[in-house]
């Protein structure tokens, strides 16, 4: 469904991504793991159009989407839940969800998807008229995933959904990710919490300083001594 080939991204003089290639088959969960600065976030930002690629190609559903504007990719079916969640702090929870339906003409669909979010995250329904900035980290993460559910992407790019969350909440978020996948969404997951990510993923790619280093089925990668030593701490 999504193919990234020899992707290269520069920040000014610095090469953040030197050569990253991977594939996300439809209906699967693929995870990118790697240390800080490996280029995981930049890869996601390039896919969703927030960064310009200086080389390589990104193909989505057979269409070349390299360097398209971010807002044009949303209606094509790419939903990106960014690092740090990026909830609009002075919009209410309701408005945060409503605005995620910006590109959807039929507002009934937006309402219906918002209901789905409330069913998935009852906590969000309770907070509906609160300002986004007043939510706890876990609630913000739920809201961020909720927004992606409203935009309705066929592929979900999730950047560090477990960051800064208590272990209980991490489990809850990961359960939701698996549930969303079961409902038919393809998932590209970036995680520092490699153990949890490998647990739910079908395939894994290891990024190191701007390159794809190893790749394979998540089960195999989990057993790979190089991965175990570097990322699983065993």
């Amino acid at each position: 469904m999504l193919t990234v080939k020899n992707l290269k991204v520069n920040y000014g003089q610095i090469e953040a991504i030197k050569e990253v290639s991977f594939e996300v088959p439809e209906g699967k969960i693929v995870t990118l793991i790697g240390a800080n600065g490996a280029g995981k976030t930049t890869t996601l930002r390039a896919i969703s159009g927030l960064e310009k690629a200086s080389g390589g190609t990104i193909t989505f559903k057979g269409k070349d989407i390299t360097n398209q504007e971010a807002h044009q990719l949303v209606p094509l079916g790419i939903s990106h839940v960014p690092e740090g969640r990026k909830i609009f702090p002075t919009l209410t929870v309701y408005e945060n969800l409503e605005i995620a339906g910006w590109t959807i003409k039929d507002k009934k669909i937006v309402k219906q998807r918002m209901e789905e979010v409330f069913t998935a995250f009852p906590r969000i329904r309770e907070r509906i008229s609160q300002l986004g900035g007043t939510l706890s980290g876990g609630e913000q993460q739920m809201l961020a995933v909720g927004r992606a559910m409203v935009t309705g992407g066929e592929i979900l790019l999730l950047d560090e959904p477990s960051m800064g969350l208590a272990p209980v909440l991490v489990d809850e978020i990961f359960e939701r990710i698996v549930a969303l996948n079961k409902m038919g969404r393809t998932i590209l997951l970036v995680e520092q919490n490699a153990a949890e990510a490998l647990e739910i993923a079908d395939f894994a790619y290891v990024l190191e300083v701007g390159y794809t280093k190893y790749s394979g089925p998540a089960k195999v990668m989990k057993a790979d001594p190089r991965v175990r030593e570097a990322y699983l701490g065993v």
Binding site: H71, I87, F88, T90, L91, I99, T151
Partner: protein
Amino acid sequence: MGSTLAQQIINVLQLGSIYALIALGYTMVYGIVRLINFAHGDFFMVGAYVAYAVFYAFNAYIGAGSPLAFLALAIAMIGGAAIAMLSNQLAYKPLRYKPKLSSLVTAIGVSMFLEYFFSAFPLIGPSQRGFPEILPKQMYTIFGAEISNYVILDLAVAATLMVGLTFLIQKTSLGRAMRAVSQDKDAAKLMGINVESIITATFLIGGAFAGAAGLLAGLTYPRIQPYMGILPGLKAFIAAVVGGIGNVPGAMLGAYILALADNINDTYISQFSNLLAFLILIAILLIRPTGILGEKTADKI
């Protein structure tokens, strides 16, 4: 004394309304692109000239009166919006993701360009012109104060536009998108919002408000010239800072505070014109740099 006080209050409200219309554009543009658009006062000047031109173009057919005044208002708003949009497209957009100082210096350049272009343009020229009575002036006496229909027009137009803007920002999807873009551009893009078109809309609204203020100021203080935007622009900028730059209700509040300060200044210490306005700016920057209603620390310009 009572009647004098009433008169002064009316003067403050009237001047404050004009400042508010200009200050809103300043604060909205700052809120959305973090740019102090120093050319904004000149959009106000353009609005005044457009209204002037409308009068002479249509006076022979329609004649002075309410219909002509509203036609002039509408076209002045379109003129203000058009010049604001052009400035954004030609001058600010190419510098959007460049260092902020570049846009700031460019804004000063746009401001000077408009002033000198209008001065040098043969049909306009640098000299002061009397502003026509688009609406025949009528005087009423209420509570011992002399009120002209211009006062009523100024207050009514400003109030309508301010209420309309508040509704737009709080209740419509465009307003929601404007708030989202002002808070986080990347997140807004990921919601599918075309950030550039929201920025354009903001410039259009801000420019239209400045254009409306240009017509009202022309009617009320009936002289116009190409540099007429500098001082009101500066006052509106101070008003926006006093209220909290980027904050819409703050700009309205700041505008009336500034008008009050100007009024007191001209009544009691008229030998030091504008002293109070700048003292207020200095005081607010020292005591509460985020402004009265501002919360977040503003970025350095």
